[in-house]
């Protein structure tokens, strides 16, 4: 048996651990196009803030690959997959055969067409460690930075470099920041906080065209800048799968076992589109925990132990300069809002289930109790909902349930 994993990030690490739970012998080969030990991409903003180092960013201990008997082909790129011969062709011309294959090719920065973008010399994306290092190299105390995109990546980048540059301006087409995870009130609170910290926003606006060092916005404003960061969004890396005839929608379609439409080929992480619990549809969930769990599930199945992933939901924990935000699920159904000067909470209930939540500021404590209500589809009528609305607490569960939760090994 030869397991081959394309991509050396979180999904592949999950897959290695999933395989090795059941099969400690067979050969595992990981083919990755970066030269680092597996690291989590969301850490790059913390690296720029100096809250971590490249060494500490290693996702697993140094001996991980040796311990799990994994052969790593780094700086290697797969050009094609031949599912009939069960063989990969690499960019350097070599071939690698497989018995079970994991596609964990991740996602890349999406760069929309913008007029005269080619005139901008100092332009960056913010996805990889190499991106962060290049940006860090280029910036100075006097840099005026323009970020296109007020989503998770753009704003984490802003946080990462704020103390190192002169100014940061953020342009986004949407009328509010972080629209993928926050409602209007949540967006407003985070925006106000970031503005207080010195970041300037130009919302409902876009770059009509660039000149070197200048951006002309649709609103007629003209912004001077030294460094440009494009953080409009990500696109899943699906070309390899597509050209091998594997079924792809937005991402590589996978079932509850993380199998693709092609025999013995699995997919996991940002490139995959798997089943989401609350909507019962296949969705893109480009989140670290999801990548790990899909990879782990694929690994177990590749090793012949049937495992299903049933409880995937969207969830995000993110902080900006001391303000924490945790969100999960979908924002549909009846809502309940609790707010104070320093915190904001909105819960979403559909039928008898919690299906989503938004927590900002000092409302984030013990958020996982809410996450668990969503993931476990706990009927709300079975617990003290008014208590748990006020604050997530195990007290709200029936005594019998609590006994189970706290009296036994989990």
């Amino acid at each position: 048996m030869h397991y081959v994993l394309i991509g050396n990030s979180i999904a592949s690490t999950g897959c290695i651990e999933g395989i090795r739970k059941h099969d400690i012998q067979a050969q595992i080969t990981v083919i990755g196009d970066e030269s680092y030990h597996c690291y989590a991409r969301p850490l790059i903003s913390y690296l720029l803030q100096e809250k971590t180092t490249v060494e500490k960013m290693a996702y697993r201990c140094e001996e991980f690959y040796e311990k799990h008997k994994v052969r790593i082909l780094s700086n290697s790129k797969v050009s094609t997959i031949d599912p009939t011969k069960k063989e990969l062709s690499l960019a350097d011309g070599s071939k690698v055969g497989y018995d079970k294959l994991l596609i964990a090719t991740g996602s890349s920065a999406f760069i929309p067409p913008m007029k005269h973008l080619e005139k901008v010399k100092n332009q960056f994306t913010f996805m990889t460690l190499a991106d962060a290092e290049a940006l860090n190299e280029a910036l100075t105390k006097n840099s005026k930075v323009l970020i296109i995109g007020a989503g998770l990546i753009g704003l984490k980048c802003a946080e990462g470099i704020l103390k190192k540059v002169k100014s940061i301006e953020v342009v986004d087409l949407a009328n509010r920041i972080l629209p993928s995870i926050l409602d209007e009130e949540g967006s407003n609170r985070v925006q106000a906080h970031l503005e207080e910290e010195g970041i300037t926003f130009h919302l409902q606006d876009s770059v009509a065209q660039f000149e070197e060092g200048k951006a002309f916005l649709a609103s007629q404003k003209v912004l001077d800048f030294d460094l440009l960061v494009i953080a409009v969004g990500v696109k899943p890396n699906v070309e390899l799968a597509k050209s091998a005839g594997i079924e792809v929608e937005r991402g590589i379609l996978i079932d509850h076992h993380c199998r693709t439409s092609c025999a013995d080929v699995y997919a996991a992480g940002d490139c995959a589109q798997g089943w989401e619990l609350t909507t019962q549809t296949r969705r893109m969930l480009p989140l670290l925990g999801n990548a790990f769990m899909q990879g782990e599930c694929a690994g177990s199945n590749m090793a012949g132990v049937e495992t299903r992933l049933e409880k995937s939901i969207a969830m995000n924990a993110i902080g900006f300069l001391g303000l924490h935000v945790i969100t999960a699920g979908i924002y549909e159904g009846e809502d309940t809002i609790i707010q104070s000067k320093t915190g904001y909470k909105r819960l979403f209930v559909q039928d008898d289930y919690l299906v989503g939540y938004i927590l900002v500021g000092d409302m984030v404590d013990r958020a996982g109790i809410y996450t668990s209500l969503i993931r476990e589809r706990t009927p709300l009528s079975s617990l003290d909902f008014s208590l748990i609305t006020e604050q997530p607490a195990l007290m709200a569960f029936a005594q019998q349930v609590r006994k189970q939760q706290l009296g036994r090994a989990q």
């Binding site: 290693a58 769990m293 924990a317 902080g319 109790i369 607490a393 007290m395």
Partner: protein
């Protein structure tokens, strides 16, 4: 003791819940399939001999584990990185201090 702690934010590693006459301590359950470990972006949480431990040097305080833990068993320390009950196995207290100190002997330390 109460005076000594006045105006000081207490940052316990366990959470005591109270309502009316009911109270109980919630500490890390050291889950076999630990969602905090699977969701940790920094690789700072890991399972060592059945114990879930935090490498506070690696933790960046992103709160992913707070988002994931079904028991609400993780909290941040003064530096903004995570802490939780590690059964006093990673300090020099031996028998967990909450067990030693609980006047009602409501917390026990045993294999289940």
């Amino acid at each position: 003791m109460v005076d000594a702690l006045k105006d000081k934010k207490i940052r316990p590693r366990i959470k005591v819940e109270q309502q009316g006459s009911i109270s109980f301590a919630v500490n890390c359950r050291h889950c076999t399939e630990a969602l905090c470990v699977k969701n940790c972006i920094a690789g700072a949480l890991s399972q060592v001999d059945g114990l879930i431990v935090i490498d506070q040097e690696k933790c960046v305080g992103c709160y992913s584990c707070i988002m994931a833990c079904p028991f609400g068993a993780l909290m941040s320390n003064e530096e903004g990185v995570m802490q939780k009950c590690e059964l006093c196995a990673t300090n020099s207290h031996g028998q967990p201090v909450c067990v030693q100190g609980c006047p009602n002997k409501a917390i026990v330390y045993e294999e289940r």
